[in-house]
Amino acid sequence: MMNLTKTKTKTKTKPKTKTKTKTKTDRAARPSTSDREVEQPTDLLDMFDGLWSTPVDERQVVVRLEGVRRNFGDHVVLDGIDLEVRAGEFVSILGRSGTGKSTLLRALDGFDRDVAGYIEVPERRAVVFQDARLLPWARVLDNVVLGLKGKQERARARDVLGEVHLTGHEDAWPVTLSGGEAQRAALARALIREPHLLLLDEPFGALDALTRITMHRLLRALCDRHNPAVLLVTHDVNEAITLSDRIVVLDHGKVIYDKPVALPEPRELHHEGFASLREQLHERLGVVLPGREESATDGFEEQHARTG
């Protein structure tokens, strides 16, 4: 395992609220953080779920958030977030609109300087946004190497474009790419930086269902190969279950659920555990389903299961 210690940065912001020591004590007063559920488990199965899926994880903690707060005026968006992510771990953050998911991601990228609390992230990190955000006036290869210099980087960019199946599109203008292709180029731009933390802000939200399935598989393959810690912000419960090692649910700026996904790979939508976990998460997200199997998403999910 690579030693990441040197590449870590401490983003200490706004001493106005609490000092680091203070938050530390706060944290110590609380129960274990690695597999925490803020609400009491509702049934026995929930409790066992947690027990079974927590083998001692010795991978280095590369993301550490303690008491992270962010407010826009009187509106509190992040209300004391504690979170740890280990090297190579794939964590999805679920939450309804306006629950602070994207704000959290921007804080982790260091773009938002008005966040209070303790944030520690790897130095090498990369973001993929919902829109591919390719510079329209730069060709695909130039977009991938944006900010990097040298012939070698261009050669590496060709390799990475190959990994995302975009060989032959190096000299294309972004406007000529399809949504999926553009998003793959954006992935390539992130991967060439060999991030220890990959931040994904609803990267597949704007793609059609079939492209999304392809992208899920590609992302899994790429993560297995490059092994960054991943934080995926998404609305899509199925996506979160399919892809992640762990799922975190945000609500009103607080973590209300944080548990590993204890399902075998590959994750099948029709799998019993999949369905029950989905229901559990829907409940946390405040989704009210009229009847168990009569939800409007069923048609899509069946197709999803067959093709996926």
Binding site: R133, A138, G147, W173
Partner: protein, 281 residues
């Protein structure tokens, strides 16, 4: 009952013109050019007919034939070329200085908060002034020589360049700035890779305005104590009542205007190829 259908096309797709070749690249000029030319030719024919039949008094508006022969004489004794050359030089320097000034100021006020508060307010006031009204002031400041003419053109050019480039810089998508932060671009890289290319379309719009206004101001400048230039020719011809010479000069102005517009359009095609995905194959 049968449903009526219609055949929309029976052609094979046209593959004769090579993508990226010269003809394809300038295809945008073809159709519109021919149609425009047809309109102009029609107008000239009507003009000739009206002159030949005596409807138009030659002292008020001489016919195309008379204008053409006058142009021939002016070219033969070198009068047109020398005057055109001095006019072109004035416009060239005026546009060059105006461009440099406009772009520099817009970078200063577009890229920094300080620059914006220092420069943008005054520039918005200045833009409201009609350039022509400043001529007297320019004469007092810079005399009646070429400096005055060139500086007036430069001044007039710098304003549309500034207004548009500044708007372009300020209008660069915030999301790209966030991206630039994400990939750790330096400030210079941000300007070079994101801000300048992002502002380029607006700059080119400004350039088109600037060239149009440059020719306009040239006429006014050349009407003051000038011994050379197209404007000078017009003034002299006006005093002696040589309508044909005036018309020749007007035609020259028109052609120059069209030419400069053409140059900017070609420039736009090249610089903004990314908008239409040209030159990808």
């Amino acid at each position: 009952m049968a449903i009526a259908t219609t055949v929309l096309t029976t052609h094979e797709p046209d593959t004769s013109s090579k993508v990226g070749g010269w003809s394809a690249r300038f295809q945008f000029l073809r159709g519109s050019g021919v149609r425009r030319l047809a309109g102009i030719i029609l107008a000239i024919v009507a003009w000739e007919v009206l002159s030949a039949t005596g409807v138009l008094d030659p002292t008020i508006l001489p016919g195309p034939g008379a204008v053409l022969s006058a142009a021939g004489h002016m070219i033969a004794d070198g009068e047109l070329q020398t005057n055109l050359w001095s006019s072109l030089q004035r416009v060239f320097w005026g546009v060059l200085f105006g461009l440099v000034a406009g772009v520099t100021i817009s970078l200063f006020s577009g890229l920094s908060q300080l620059g914006e508060s220092l420069v943008d307010g005054p520039m918005q006031v200045v833009r409201a002034l009609p350039v022509i009204a400043l001529q007297s002031l320019f004469i007092v400041w810079f005399g009646i020589g070429d400096e005055m003419k060139i500086l007036m053109i430069a001044f007039a050019v710098s304003i549309p360049i500034y207004i548009n480039t500044y708007a372009g810089i300020r209008g660069v998508d915030r999301r790209f700035v966030e991206l630039a932060h994400g990939v750790r671009l330096s400030r210079w890289q941000l300007i070079r890779r994101v801000v300048l290319p992002g502002a380029l379309p607006n700059f080119l719009v400004g350039l088109r305005y600037a060239l149009a206004v440059a020719w306009l101001v040239l006429i006014f400048g050349e009407e003051v104590n000038t011994t050379s230039g197209i404007g000078n020719l017009i003034i002299q011809a006006g005093q002696t009542g040589e309508t044909t010479v005036i018309i020749v000069c007007l035609v020259v102005y028109g052609v120059l205007g069209l030419l400069s517009d053409f140059v900017v359009r070609v420039l736009e095609r090249r610089a903004l190829a990314w908008r239409r995905g040209l030159g990808t194959a």
